[in-house]
Amino acid sequence: MTVILEVDNISVSFGSLRAVRDVSLQVRAGERLTILGTNGAGKSTLFNLISGDIAPTRGSIRWQGQPIHGLPAPARTRLGMSRSYQTSRVLHGLSVADNMYLAVQGVQRGRFGFRVPGADHPFRQAARQTLAQVGLQGVDDELASNLSHGEQRQLEIAMALASQPQMLLLDEPAAGLSPSERPELVALLRSLPRDVTIILIEHDMDVALQVADRVLVMHEGEIVFQGTPAETAASPLVRSLYLGYTGDEDEA
C-alpha cells in the first residue's frame, strides 16, 4: 500500500513545554492506525499539527508526497483530510441538516450560491445518505444541540465523512458514549470502506484495539511504542504507562 501521510521529525512547543517532540510516522492508504497515550501525552496536539489547527515549531508533514505543513486547516480538508474533535464540536445552533450541508459545501469549489438550498439539492441528498451511513436518521430538522451526546458523536463522524475524505482523524470518538453505544461505534468504524484511511486517538483500549491495524503509543510528546493490537495488549510498557504496573508483579 502506498504511503498517504508522512510526518517527519515534527515538534511543537508552547512556551517552555515541548508538547510533541521529534515525532515521525508514516501512514499507509487504507490503514487503521490508533494512537494511545495517557492525558497530556501529546496525542491531540499531534492531531492538531496534522490537521493544520496549529503550526509546528519544526519538522514537516507530507500528504501524498506533497508538503502541507504550511497549509491552513480548511485547505487540508479540501485535500481530503477530515477530522473530529476530542469534545463534541458540532454546530449547536444549526439543524442537523445544516450541519451536514456545510460539511458537504465546505470541500466544494466553484460558485457560492446565496440562498439556502432546499431539501432536494444534491448536497442535501448526499448529506442524508451519509447520515444514514452512520445510523442517524429522521433528525434532519432537529437542532444539533437537542441531540444526545451519542447522536452528536454520530453527527460529528457523519460531518467528517460528508466531505468524502481520504483520511479521517478521529479524536476520542468514544468519549462520553455509554457502554451500549461503544459497540455501535466500533461497528460503524469497521464498516467504513478501506479507501478511507483512519487515524484514531482513543482512551478506550477495547475500542482502540478492535479498530486498529497498527497501534502507536505516545508518552510525554514522544512515540514510545509501535505494534499490532495483539503486541500492544501484551506489552509491559503499555501496561506500565496505562495501569502503572506491568502485570509481572502479580506473578511474583
Partner: protein, 286 residues
C-alpha cells in the same frame, strides 16, 4: 402625559439609532470574538464620508451609499491588514483597534476640523408630523424607527435565509469546527467585518442627519454600542435590539425625570445585567 410620551418617543428613536450602530458591533464580536474598539471611529468616518458625498452630489441617498461603500472598504482593509493575522488574540486585537480609532479620529479632526456638521435631510422626510397627545414631532426621527426595523429584517433574512448567514451562525458556534469542514473562515470573517463596517457607516449618515456630526461622536457611539451589546448579549441581533431599546429609553426617561442621575442609569442597567446574567439578556457562553 405629553412630556412622558415625548420622552418615550425620543427614547425609542434613540434606541433605533443605537441598534443600527450596535448591530455591526455585535455581528463582529459574534463571529470573530473581536471587540472592535474602532467601531465608533468607523461611525464617524461614515458620517463624514456621507456628509461630503451628499454635500457635493446634493443627494442624501448618494451620501448613504458613499458612506456604506467607504466604510465597507475601510473595514475590509482594517481586518485584512491589521486583524486577521491575530485571530484569537483578543487583547492584541483590542489594542490594535484602540490605536486605529485614535488615528482615524485625529485624521478626521485634521480633515474636517472641530466644527459640527449635519446632513440635509431628504425632502420626503423633512418637517414634522402632528401626533395625538405628543404633538408635533420630526418625521426623520420617526423614520429612524423604520430604518432600524429595515436593518433588523435585512439582518434576520441574511442570517436565516442565506448560506452566508448560515456560515456566520456556524462561526458564532464554533470557528474551528467550521474551518474543519473546509470552509475558508478567514475570508468570511473579512466579508463580515466589511458588512459590519458598512452598517455602522450607514448609521453614521442616519445619526448625522437626525442629530449632528462632531468630534467625540466616535467615543459616544462606541460606548453606547458596548453598553447595548453587553446588556443584550454579545453576538446576538435580537439582544442588540432589546439592549438598544432599554438603553435608549433609560437615557431619555432619565434625562426627563432624573436629570442629575441620567448619566449613570445606563451603566446601572449594565451592572445589574452583568451581575445576574453575565452573558447579557440573550447571550450565551462563547
Amino acid at each position: 402625559m405629553k412630556p412622558f410620551l415625548l420622552s418615550m418617543l425620543n427614547g425609542i428613536t434613540l434606541a433605533a439609532l443605537y441598534f443600527i450602530v450596535a448591530s455591526g458591533f455585535t455581528i463582529i464580536f459574534g463571529m470573530m470574538r473581536v471587540v472592535n474598539m474602532a467601531h465608533g471611529s468607523l461611525y464617524l468616518l461614515g458620517a463624514y464620508i456621507g456628509y461630503s458625498v451628499a454635500d457635493s452630489s446634493g443627494s442624501w441617498l448618494m451620501g448613504l451609499a458613499g458612506a456604506a461603500i467607504g466604510t465597507a472598504v475601510a473595514g475590509l482593509l482594517l481586518h485584512r491588514v491589521f486583524l486577521s493575522r491575530y485571530q484569537g488574540q483578543d487583547l492584541r486585537q483590542a489594542l490594535i483597534t484602540i490605536g486605529l480609532s485614535i488615528i482615524i479620529a485625529d485624521l478626521l479632526l485634521a480633515g474636517y476640523g472641530g466644527l459640527t456638521y449635519q446632513l440635509d435631510i431628504p425632502d420626503a422626510l423633512y418637517g414634522g408630523v402632528r401626533l395625538p397627545v405628543a404633538g408635533g414631532y420630526p418625521i426623520f426621527r420617526l423614520a429612524l424607527i423604520g430604518f432600524a426595523i429595515l436593518v433588523y429584517l435585512a439582518l434576520w433574512l441574511l442570517m436565516h435565509r442565506t448560506r452566508f448567514g448560515m456560515i456566520i451562525r456556524a462561526a458564532v458556534d464554533d470557528r474551528h469546527m467550521l474551518a474543519a469542514t473546509g470552509i475558508n473562515v478567514p475570508l468570511f470573517s473579512t466579508a463580515v467585518f466589511a458588512l459590519a463596517a458598512s452598517l455602522v457607516g450607514i448609521a453614521g449618515v442616519i445619526g448625522g442627519s437626525a442629530l449632528s456630526i462632531a468630534p467625540g461622536d466616535d467615543v459616544h457611539y462606541l460606548l453606547s454600542s458596548l453598553v447595548v451589546v453587553i446588556v443584550g448579549g454579545m453576538g446576538n441581533i435580537k439582544g442588540a435590539a432589546i439592549g438598544a431599546l432599554l438603553i435608549g429609553l433609560a437615557e431619555q426617561l432619565g434625562l426627563a425625570y432624573f436629570p442629575t442621575y441620567s448619566a449613570i442609569i445606563s451603566f446601572a442597567i449594565m451592572v445589574a445585567v452583568l451581575a445576574y446574567r453575565p452573558y447579557g439578556l440573550f447571550g450565551r457562553p462563547a
